[in-house]
Each structure stands twice: as C-alpha cells, then as structure tokens.
C-alpha cells in the first residue's frame, strides 16, 4: 500500500494498515484523507477539533434561530411545543459539548505543546482517540433530526428526572450514551493535557513562566478530570432507570434531587471548563496587543487555580429552589460570591495590562475588549443570582438565560473568536484574513449579541419562564421580538465570518511569521508552520537502541 515501507509489521487480521502517513510528494487525494484520519499530530488534531466544533456550531445556531422565531409572536406559530423542546435542548447540549469545548480543545491541542516547546502531546494516540469520540457522539446526539421516530433530546441539556426517565423514546438513551462518550473523551484529553504540562516542558519553560493559556488549560483539565466521572455516574443511573427498572431517581422512595446534586457537581465546574481557556486566550491577546507583558502574572495564574478550586464548592447554587436546608443555601451562596474575587483579580489585571500600553485595535483585540465588557455583565448578574433571595425570584426565568449567555457567548465565544483571529494564520492556512470583514463580524456580533440577550434580562425580571414555547402576556412581545432580531444579527455576523474564511483560504496574503506587532511569542516561533509543511518521514530506523519497551 502507498507510503508503507517494506517489512513494516502492520498486517493485522487481514487488514493492511498503513501506519505512516504518506509523504507529501504523493498528491493522491485518498492518501491525503488517510493522513488526516490516521494522524497523531497535535496540530492536525487541533485543527480537526476546531472544524468539528464549527460544524456543530451551525447545527446549534440554527436550532437557536428556530427557537427565537417561534417566540417572535405569542401563540404557536411555526413549530409545535414538542419540537421546541427538542430544539432548545439540542441547542444547549450541542453548543456546550460540541462547539465551545471542541473549539477550545482545538486551540489547546495546537498551542499548548508549542508553548511548552514539547514535540507533541504526552500520549499522541490517546489524543487522536479523544478527537474521534467527538464525531460519533455528535452523530448520536443529532440522529433524531434525520431518522423519523427518534426524537433528539427534549428534556433540556440538564435532563432532570423524572421528566427524563418517563419519556420512553430511544433518542434520550442515545443522548445519554453521547454524553458518556464525550465524558470518556474529555477525561482522556484531560489526562493528556496534564501529563503534557507537568512533564513535557522544555528546560527553559517553567510552571511559573509558561503562557497563561497553559495555566488555563491545566485548570480546565483538572476540573474535567475530577468532575466528569460524577456526571457519568448520574447518566449511568439514569440509563439504568430508563432501561433496567431501577428506581434511583423516579418512584415512590426515589430521590430525584440526588440526580441534581450529581449533575451539578459536574455542571458547575463545566461552566468554568468553558470559560477558563477563554480567560487564557484573552490574557494572551490583551498582553500582545497592548504591547505590555501581562500585569500580575502570578496572581493571574493562581486566580485561575482559585476559580477552579472554588468551582467544586458551589454546585448547589443551581438548586436553591429544591428545598435544601437553608444553612446549606447560605454556605453555597457564600462560596459562590467568593468566586467574584479571583474573577475580579483577572478583570482588573487585564485592565492594568492595557493601562499605559500601546493598544493596537486589531480584530483579536476588539473581541478581547468585547469579551471584558460582556463577561463583566455576565459575572455581575451571576453575583446577583448567587444570592438566595434574588435567585428564588428569578430561578428558571429568562434572567438566568441572559446571564449564562453573557458568560458563555459574550465570554467563551468571544474568547474563541479573539483567539481565532489572533492565531488564524499560524493555525489554519498560513494566510491572513480580511481585516475589514473581521471588524464587520465583530461589530455585528457585539451589537447583535446585546440586542438578543439584554432584553432577556428584562423579560426575566418581568417573569417570563425559560423553556416554554409560548407566552400570552402582551408586555413580553416587544422584548421577545428584539431578542429574535438580535439573533439574526448574530447569524449575519457568523455569515461574515464564513465569507472571511473563504476569502482568506482563496486569496488571503501569505504569512509565514508573526504578523502582529508586540513582543515575540513562543507559539509563533516554535515548530513547523501548520500542515503546509511536509511531514517528517518515519524515523524508526534512526533509533535502533530503543529495542525494549519503556
């Protein structure tokens, strides 16, 4: 077979497996595809993570637009209530697990080894395994969209029992299996990142001088490693309840609240999993485009760790209305409020980094500034929600929806685009994008985002419930229509982004070094530039001394 060398010991069960990707000289299309399918290179894996994320982002985005269209007018207009349930549940699950997480994992895969000057991740094949589990999980989640008779998840991304145990549709089982798959994938990826960061740093890269993005990735991996197994157990209990007749969560002597505890023990660290890598990206971007080193490096690094640690102690602030012991309410309220301290340290350090710097308003910096603005709104409303008396009033209203979209979209997604526009030529094409289009993208997204989600704060305070497909109160109409229009402005901004991608790939000017001003950064200098560079051919023969297993 092409590209395999004679004598390679790679015939297994009659399947001839080519272990080495082809040399670039063979322009055979099949071999190129094969080299992507068999790659263990952290750069290629990072790129595939990113584009897989974008693919699912489109699915999640379309379902959000359909939800907004249904809410434009009161009354059932466009879609049935059942479809509405599927769409918002799919939107939540897909955006969290298949857009933000893979996109950030893509940056992590690509840049953490470069920033550490490591040759690759610690376990390259396990890294590829983590990537490939994303795809079947995404398929299982969305299979109900194409196969009649199977619904996609329709119980919210939280899947609370008894609702999630009573619906017999097999689509919910597929959803649980997909989440378990994603859990295995993320656990393995976390082990990989941590082993890489702990042991694969070059001699001149210390824990206390590596990029803050690596610190963020480290904290993220710790969060996933210790929180995901708990949710996996909750999902397995749910599967047993649904299929094997156990009564963990549903039934006369069962305990549905236990599910909420197990779920949120994972679910709250999960939101920091989504935001911490974005913090890391923003730290890189702000320091680079302010032409100053980051202000308070150590406080930044340990603030990340503090957020991650406190993140394990706040889960029940999602459950103030479940009738917990009021003393527990107070405890979780206090720990939740304390998280504002390390987060505040980070925000003030970003501002202090810009103070006196020579600020270069390029697209990445625009997104970073937008991030700070929006994330602070999201964070402050988070403090409001953390206080028990306020939360009891607005629990499960659009106030909560607006809050977490300000952190997840205004925070994580703006962070992703800041990183994308910063690293684009290094990561994807070796080509620059259109500055004008990316600024159009930013302003459309920033305006559209606020038009979409600020009215939802007001709707929430007026008492509109989330996850309901219809409303009758006339006061809700105006704000809902503003929100829907804003949603389409965001969609237009994403369209500008895709046009920009196409422009960059087809006619963007070639870039082969750091295109930005400011101090030199390790990830721009280190290693080959992207997949354009031919791969190093096999070095098996070069290491004859390594005969024994390590």
């Amino acid at each position: 077979m092409l590209g395999c060398q004679k004598g390679d010991d790679n015939v297994f069960y009659g399947v001839h497996i080519c272990l080495a990707p082809m040399a670039e000289t063979s322009n055979d299309r099949a071999s190129k595809i094969r080299s992507w399918l068999t790659t263990t290179d952290h750069k290629k894996i990072g790129i595939m993570y990113w584009w897989a994320g974008v693919f699912f982002f489109i699915i999640g985005g379309i379902s959000a637009l359909l939800v907004r269209m249904e809410l434009f007018y009161p009354g059932q207009v466009l879609i049935s209530g059942g479809t509405f349930d599927q769409l918002f549940s799919l939107h939540g699950t897909v955006m969290i697990f298949l857009w933000i997480m893979p996109a950030l994992a893509g940056f992590g895969n690509y840049f953490v080894p470069l920033m550490l000057k490591a040759p690759d991740m610690a376990f390259p094949r396990v890294n590829a395994l983590s990537l490939w589990m994303i795809m079947p999980a995404g398929l299982l989640l969305t299979i109900g969209l194409v196969i009649p008779g199977i619904v996609t998840v329709n119980v919210g991304w939280t899947g609370y029992p008894p609702l999630s145990t009573l619906d017999p549709n097999i689509g919910l089982d597929f959803w649980l299996v997909a989440l378990i798959l994603l859990g295995i994938s993320s656990t393995l990826a976390s082990v990989n990142f941590l082993a890489t960061i702990f042991t694969m740093r070059a001699k001149d890269v210390g824990l206390h001088n590596m990029s803050l993005f690596c610190w963020a990735q480290m904290a993220t991996s710790l969060l996933l490693l210790f929180s995901l197994p708990v949710a996996t157990i909750a999902f397995i209990f749910l599967l047993f309840d649904r299929n094997l007749g156990t009564v963990f969560f549903t039934g006369p002597e069962s305990d549905p609240i236990l599910y909420q505890h197990l779920f949120w023990f994972f679910g709250h660290p999960e939101v920091y999993v989504l935001i911490l890598p974005a913090f890391g990206i923003i730290s890189e971007v702000i320091s680079k485009f302010s032409n100053r080193p980051i202000f308070g490096y150590h406080s930044m690094a340990y603030a990340i760790l503090a957020i991650a640690t406190l993140g394990f102690l706040v889960w029940a602030h999602h459950m103030f209305t479940t009738g917990m012991d009021p003393r527990a309410d107070i405890g979780f309220m206090i720990t939740s409020l304390i998280i504002a301290v390390p987060t505040g340290i980070k925000v003030f350090n970003w501002l202090a980094t810009m103070w006196g710097g020579i600020i270069d308003i390029k697209p990445p910096m625009l997104f970073a500034l937008g991030f700070i603005w929006l994330f602070v709104i999201g964070g402050i409303t988070g403090i409001m929600l953390a206080s028990v008396p306020f939360d009891l009033q607005v629990h499960d209203t659009y106030f909560v929806v607006a809050h977490f979209h300000y952190t997840m979209v205004g925070g994580a997604m703006f962070g992703i685009f800041a990183g994308l526009y910063y690293w684009w030529p290094r990561m994807f094409s070796g080509k620059m994008y259109s500055m004008a289009l990316s600024k159009i993208h930013f302003w459309l997204q920033f305006i559209g985002f606020n038009v979409t989600f600020f009215p939802q704060f007001i709707l929430g305070l007026q008492g509109m419930r989330r996850r309901i497909s219809d409303y009758v109160i006339p006061e809700f109409v105006g704000m809902n229509q503003a929100s829907t229009i804003g949603g389409f402005i965001i969609a237009a901004s994403i369209l500008a982004f895709f046009i920009n991608c196409w422009w960059s790939f087809t006619r963007g000017p070639t870039v082969d070094e750091d295109p930005w001003t400011g101090s030199r950064r390790i990830e721009w200098e280190e290693g080959d530039w992207g997949p354009r560079t031919p791969e190093v051919p096999t070095a098996t023969e070069a290491k004859p001394e390594a005969k024994e297993a390590p």
């Binding site: 795809m135 290491k543 024994e548």
Partner: protein, 255 residues
C-alpha cells in the same frame, strides 16, 4: 527507576507517525455503548467490534512503545496517576449515592437481606494477596529477577481471576435468593458499586494479560524499562484498595 534517562525537554524524538486505531477504537467504544442501548444481539456485535479494535490498538502498542515513541517514564506515570484520580471520583460518586439512600432508609440493609460476609471475606483476602504478589513481581523485575517476576505475575492473574469467579458466584447466589437489581435501593447501590469494581478488576486482569503476553512472547521488560508494568501495578493496587472500602462499608457496615 532510571527516570534520569529521559530528562525534560527535547531530548526525545517524536516523529509524526500515524495510526488508524484511535479512529477505529472510538468507533468500537461507540458500538459497544450503542449495543447496550439496542440490546441483544447488537450488544454482542458491539462488544465484538470493540474487542477487535482494542486488540488492534494493543497490537500496535507493542511496536509503538518499542520503536516509535520515547516520551519517557514521567508522562506515563503521571498519566496513570491522573487517570486514577478520575477513578476515585467515580467510586466517590457511587459511595455518595449509597450513603444518600442509606440516610433516607428506615432500615439498612433492608430486612431479610444477608450478604455472605465470611465467603466474600475469604475472596477479599485472595484479592489482597494478589496485590502482594503484584508488588513482589514488580520488585523482582526491578531487581532483575525475571523468573520470579514471571511467576508472581502469573500468580497475580490467577488470584485476580479467582476473585472475579467468586464475584460471579456471589451474584448468582444472591440473585437466586431474590436480591435482584430492582429489589431495593440497597441492592441497586450494592450492584452498582460491586459491579463497577468488578469491571475495574476485569480491566486490570486484561492489562495484566497484556503484560504477560509482552513478557512471555516478546520479553520486552527489563529492570530499567518497564513503565507499562509499573502503571498496571499502580492500577492494580488502586483496585485492591477500593475493594477494602467496598467490603468494609457494604459488607461489614463499619461506617
């Protein structure tokens, strides 16, 4: 351990070799999970695909670790320790569920439920013995005594298999006595905890069999290069330790 052989930094080479097995194993894991949902016969199809792909991975593993990659001892050791960290959370969550239901139950264990404390105690001792033989095997390998290493390795596999046999026997007799999964919260959490542990023991046994294969067929481990053996040993000790908690808490009701 000669961890000094692989200092931090760029001394080791990591050529960009490819492998098809990550993709296939991912499909295998998916197949077995989907099979569990669809029920028989798909679960067997899924398990078969998973087993085939897993074997492919292990087959390549031998070459991979032998010739291609030399990331050294430290990543592998950290890898297994971190993985065990997440395993601790799995058992932690199961125990949390157990204590949660126990706190809500008027009588615990439910009236009429008798676990075979003595017989399982004997199997507990057998499992702990296997931990000792695993340690001796590892120590022998480090001292360069390959004969003793092989003997104790086989003994560990034997003792672990006896424990699993005991578990299966216990399950059959308990189910025969009416203590099924749906009998009560006690039964459900009992089967979840012991079952999860049993799956971990089986996983450990498979890893031990891989060690044995690579020892007896390929003679790959020496006093200085055996991080795979070390990882499996750490994992096996962890599985033993978990069982001590399971036995003390569920069988003896100490806590």
């Amino acid at each position: 351990m000669a961890s000094g052989d692989h200092p931090k930094g760029l001394e080791y080479e990591l050529p960009h070799h490819g492998s098809i097995w990550p993709l296939l194993v991912a499909l295998g894991i998916t197949a077995v999970l989907v099979g569990l949902i669809l029920g028989t016969p798909w679960v067997f199809v899924g398990a078969g695909i998973f087993a085939l792909t897993g074997l492919g991975w292990l087959h390549e593993d031998r070459r991979w670790w032998n010739e291609m990659v030399g990331t050294g001892h430290a990543p592998a050791r950290w890898g297994i320790l971190l993985f065990i960290g997440s395993e601790i959370m799995i058992f932690g969550a199961l125990f949390a569920a157990y204590f949660n239901y126990r706190a809500q139950a008027p009588v615990w264990p439910p009236a009429g439920v008798e676990l075979p404390v003595v017989i399982t105690g004997i199997f507990t001792i057998i499992l702990l013995l296997s931990g000792a033989t695993m340690h001796w095997a590892h120590a022998a390998l480090r001292a360069g005594n390959k004969r003793m290493f092989k003997g104790h390795l086989l003994l560990t596999i034997l003792l672990g298999s006896i424990f699993i046999g005991g578990q299966i026997y216990e399950y059959i007799s308990l189910i025969g006595a009416g203590l099924t999964l749906t009998h009560s919260h006690f039964a459900a959490t009992f089967y979840m905890l012991t079952g999860t542990h049993g799956i971990h023991v089986i996983g450990g046994l498979i890893a031990l069999i891989v060690v044995a294969y690579r020892t007896f067929v390929h003679d790959q481990f020496t006093a200085h290069r055996h991080v795979f053996v070390e990882g499996v040993a750490i994992y096996w000790h962890f599985v033993d330790l978990v069982w001590v908690f399971v036995y003390a808490i569920i069988y003896l009701q100490w806590f």
